[in-house]
Amino acid sequence: MYSENSIEKNIFVKLLSINYVLLILIIVLFTIGIFALFSASNGDFSSWPMKHFQRFIMSIILFFFVALIDIRIIFKFAYLIFFLSILSLVIIPFVGVESNGATRWINILGLSIQPSEFVKYTLILALAKYFHSIHNEDHTFLNRLIIPGAISIIPVLLVASQPDLGTALIILLGAISIFWIVGLSYKFFVAGGIIVITSLPIFWQFLKGYQKERVFTFFNPERDPLGNGYHILQSKIALGSGGIFGKGYMEGTQSHLNFLPEMQTDFIFTMFGEEFGFLGSLVLILVYASIIGLSISLALTCRSLFSKYLALGVCTVFFIYIFVNIGMVTGLLPVVGVPLPFISYGGSSMLAVMFGFGLLMNCYIHQNTILQKGGNI
């Protein structure tokens, strides 16, 4: 069979079968990121842009490494990888580094790594393997809902307790997207949605003023010491005053007069939008949309369920990042600390996103590999 041949692909064939359009789009985004950080640092290449570049090089290496491993190995060790990432979350309170009132980082070989960024992908990996493995078994509440639900809720609760509700929410949404892809009935999503939407305001009513404040602080512990709406207002003013064509590269007055908080990380889109206007923002969103569209089409070429689940999950997580970030800076969503992939300054998220794309590319390269339930070939 033709799938037999593809199993034996050597590394050069694998390199050739990588989808370079996707990689080029990623490099375009990264280049935009370098320019944006150069502006954010007021023209100092040696600070943020330089480090951003170094991290990108590391991420590219990680990407190729993950993409070129035999998918059977990834499949075989999927649970182990998930278990290790959970373990790293568990040990954070004991070995982690505290910053801004939250403990999220651990030092591995001199690198500050935020395990919660990777858990987004390892959970998808585990769920993909799980649903692949039970494909032909009986459909019961226990194996289709309770067990994967339990697997999903563990990292969500661990991350939420750091506390980092933003990342926890993204992990949860990523898991939910897998449930959607594997075909969980509409009814659950409709019912779940209705329950959440109706209970939120009722629940909110019972909160006292200071408790509401605490919820805000819980959502966003390290920022916004001054006033609740300040950042969002400044961000909207910056974007809006950019107009259609923008104020010009490095000319963003709001950004450069320090009205804009976290300009180099979560609010970098605002600075970009102020300097390049609506047209620039639209182009940027189109690049992201192209990456997602292309990724989904790549995912759908895979033959095994595991690959499809995994690749689609990666696409969805990537989308969630972008939507939450831009939604946040444009005032559509509450402020939660989510970076804009490839552009925001930050090592863990860059590595994690490229780890995700490495998995996606791995699935694409090994699209014809047939995987057995238990991980045997």
Binding site: H135, D138, H139, T140, F141, R144, L145, S177, W180, I181, V182, G183, L184, S185, Y186, K187, F188, Q234, K236, I237, A238, L239, G240, S241, G242, G243, I244, T253, Q254, L257, F259, G273, G277, F278, S281, L282, I285, Y288, A289, I292, G293, I296, A299, L300, L305, K308, L312, C315, T316, F319, F323, I326, G327, T330, G331, L332
Partner: protein, 624 residues
């Protein structure tokens, strides 16, 4: 399939199901991306004008608030240095895109103004971007209103009202009050005020001595500015703290009278209260107008002040020292009395005194009395009255230089009178160890003789002489000299601290009285007629060595010498004699003789002091 399958999972063939679900995700994501694009369109297209206004409005900036410099008052509570409004135009870098364009637009409003572009641009580049930099200073009200009417056309340039120092006393107080000017280059890094465009620091006198307390503390405010940088709203402010007010013991009326009485002569006057040690006048002449320094003083004016041979920039009352000449004699006389010399013992003055000196051919050296024929027999009070040099040669030789020096130092000679005035000089009281350590040679007997009549190495300031005489005439009470007005509670009088035996002082005072009020006294012609109101000692100090040839051929008269070679004229006096209240010390540089130039001035000053009873007008500005 079982029924439960239907309930949990959709009942489709797996690949179809995934494709369908993926399609829905894709559509949903597309929809959400459109939502983002729509949101951006709403912010960046539909509402861009609103947000542009907000963005411009929203610019918050920082302004420094200039503190008011402390006011300097005189002893009557009259202001000597005050702050007046000053109109200026400044440019703020962060408020304009093109500094040069703004400046040239400004030039069009005031075509005749003199704008130094290079200096302004240099200044702008050296300062923080929110700091206003002065374009033009000290505008008239007409110019200022013209700028105000047109300023909205120019970005980044603002009319501003600041303060300038005004000295009510003008030249008469120029040296003691001092003046302020822009910070020097090296001061810019030290002063906390240096970010102010109008930062000034004291350069002389009280302005310099008390600069830190006078300058106050800088304030600042955060303001919201609109697109062209005009202040819209103040967000918060820390007010500047005005500097401390300072009251001096200088009396404006006395100071002004003394300055006018000197009438342009090169010299100085110090007036001291003999009971409190307060100085009521410290005048130096000629002077300059300190208000010239409020603006940028022109180079030619500055140069002419620097090169003027009468040295108007120097406070001669404290910064210049002179050989005290015969004004030292009362103190030498005291040293003699303390040494045990009988005041009634007479010395015969034949006009000269000889000492052995093997270095000259004749084997002796002659010291002359100022009076060619000599004074005949004189005792101590006579010697003071007629200022007999030979008498003082003889007693100096007996008591030795170290005793003279000890008494002079005890009365405040040879050290700074005021500790705070930076430009003060400490004069010089020579003695044996001084000469050995400074000149490296042993003391000579002849030098004791010179010192005994206030010549040789001896140097003193007018202020020192005035203070020394005050302590001699107040019955020997030790004074702490002061130019700062003190509260009664602060007055720390050393009532019991006597620095000399009153019975000796009485003898010396009699000599001073006779010198002025008895016929034959050196300042008899300057006495206040009919009353014994002041007594004092003249002094004429040589600034050149008189050679023996000149002495043979007859002394060259002072009027025939060039100005800078003429003798200094000195006078120190106290009054009223019955109950001493003031001492006055007058030095007229190269004025000829003390009796001819300095004593008449001192006499008029005493008359002014007695007639006006100014001590009754003293008012403490802090006692309210």
């Amino acid at each position: 399939m079982k029924k439960s399958d239907n309930f949990i999972f959709e009942n489709y063939e797996t690949d179809n199901l995934i494709n369908r679900r993926a399609a829905i995700i894709t559509i949903a994501q597309g929809g959400l991306f459109s939502l983002l694009a729509g949101r951006l369109a709403y912010l960046q297209i539909a509402n861009r004008d609103n947000y542009k206004i907000l963005s411009d409005k929203n610019r918050i900036t920082h302004r420094l608030l200039e503190p008011k410099r402390g006011i300097i008052y005189d002893a009557q509570g009259k202001p000597l240095a005050i702050n007046m409004e000053r109109y200026e135009a400044v440019i703020i870098k962060e408020e304009t895109k093109d500094v040069f364009k703004s400046l040239s637009a400004f030039q069009k409003i005031l075509p005749e103004s003199n704008i130094d572009y290079d200096q302004i641009i240099d200044e702008i580049n050296n300062r923080k971007k929110f700091v206003p930099v002065k374009i033009i200073d000290d505008l008239s009200w007409q110019e200022f209103s013209k700028i105000n009417a047109n300023i909205h056309k120019i970005d980044g340039i603002f009319p501003q009202i600041g303060f300038k120092r005004y000295y009510t006393g003008g030249p008469s107080h120029a040296h003691i009050v001092g003046y302020v000017t822009n910070l020097d280059k090296d001061e810019k890094y030290l002063s906390p005020l240096s970010d102010l465009n109008n930062a000034k620091s004291g350069k002389l006198g009280i302005e310099k001595a008390k600069d830190v307390s006078l300058r106050g503390h800088i304030g600042n405010k955060n303001i919201e500015v609109n697109a062209s940088g005009r202040e819209i709203r103040e967000l918060d402010r820390i007010d500047s703290l005005p500097g401390e007010n300072i009251q001096l013991t200088i009396d404006k009326e006395i100071q002004e009278y003394c300055y006018e009485r000197l009438n342009g002569l090169s010299g100085c006057i110090a007036v001291t209260n003999v009971n409190s040690g307060e100085f009521n006048a410290l005048v130096s002449s000629p002077a300059y107008d300190p208000n010239l320094f409020g603006k940028s003083i022109s180079q030619s004016t500055w140069n002419s002040l620097l090169t003027n041979k009468y040295k108007p920039l120097i406070n001669k009352a404290i910064s210049n020292h002179y050989p005290p000449g015969s004004t030292i004699k009362p103190f030498v006389a005291l040293a003699a009395l303390e040494y045990g010399i009988d005041p009634n013992q007479e010395v015969f003055c034949d006009g000269k005194h000889l000492i052995e000196d093997s270095s000259v051919e004749s084997g002796y050296k002659t010291f002359h009395c100022w009076k060619k024929g000599g004074h005949g027999l004189v005792n101590l009070t006579d010697a003071i009255k007629v200022s007999c040099d030979v008498y003082f040669y003889q007693i100096s030789r007996r008591i030795g230089i170290n005793k003279i020096a000890e008494v002079c130092r005890r009365f405040g000679l040879g050290k700074n009178t005021f500790e705070c005035l930076k430009e003060e000089t400490n004069g010089l009281v020579p003695d044996k160890s001084w000469k050995l350590s400074n000149l490296g040679s042993p003391w000579m007997v002849g030098e004791t003789l010179s010192a005994g009549i206030g010549q040789g190495y001896f140097l003193a300031t007018s202020a020192q002489l005035s203070l020394a005489l005050a302590q001699l005439t107040n019955g020997g009470k030790k004074l702490s000299p002061s130019i700062f007005y003190k509260n009664l509670s602060q007055k720390n009088e050393h009532l019991d601290s006597k620095i000399a035996d009153p019975k000796y002082l009485k003898i010396i005072k009699r000599g001073l009285d006779e010198a002025t009020n008895d016929p034959g006294g050196t300042s008899y012609y300057s006495r206040i007629r009919g009353k014994h109101e002041f007594g004092g000692k003249t002094g004429t100090s040589q600034v050149r060595v008189i050679s023996s040839e000149e002495r043979e051929e007859g002394l060259i008269k002072n009027e025939d010498l060039p100005w800078e070679k003429r003798d200094h004229g000195l006078f120190i006096g106290y009054g009223p004699i019955s109950k001493p209240q003031y001492t006055v010390s007058v030095i007229v540089e190269h004025g000829g003789s003390g009796s001819g130039t300095a004593a008449p001035i001192a006499s008029d000053v005493f008359k002014f002091l007695f007639d006006n009873k100014l001590d009754l007008k003293r008012k403490n500005i802090f006692d309210v």
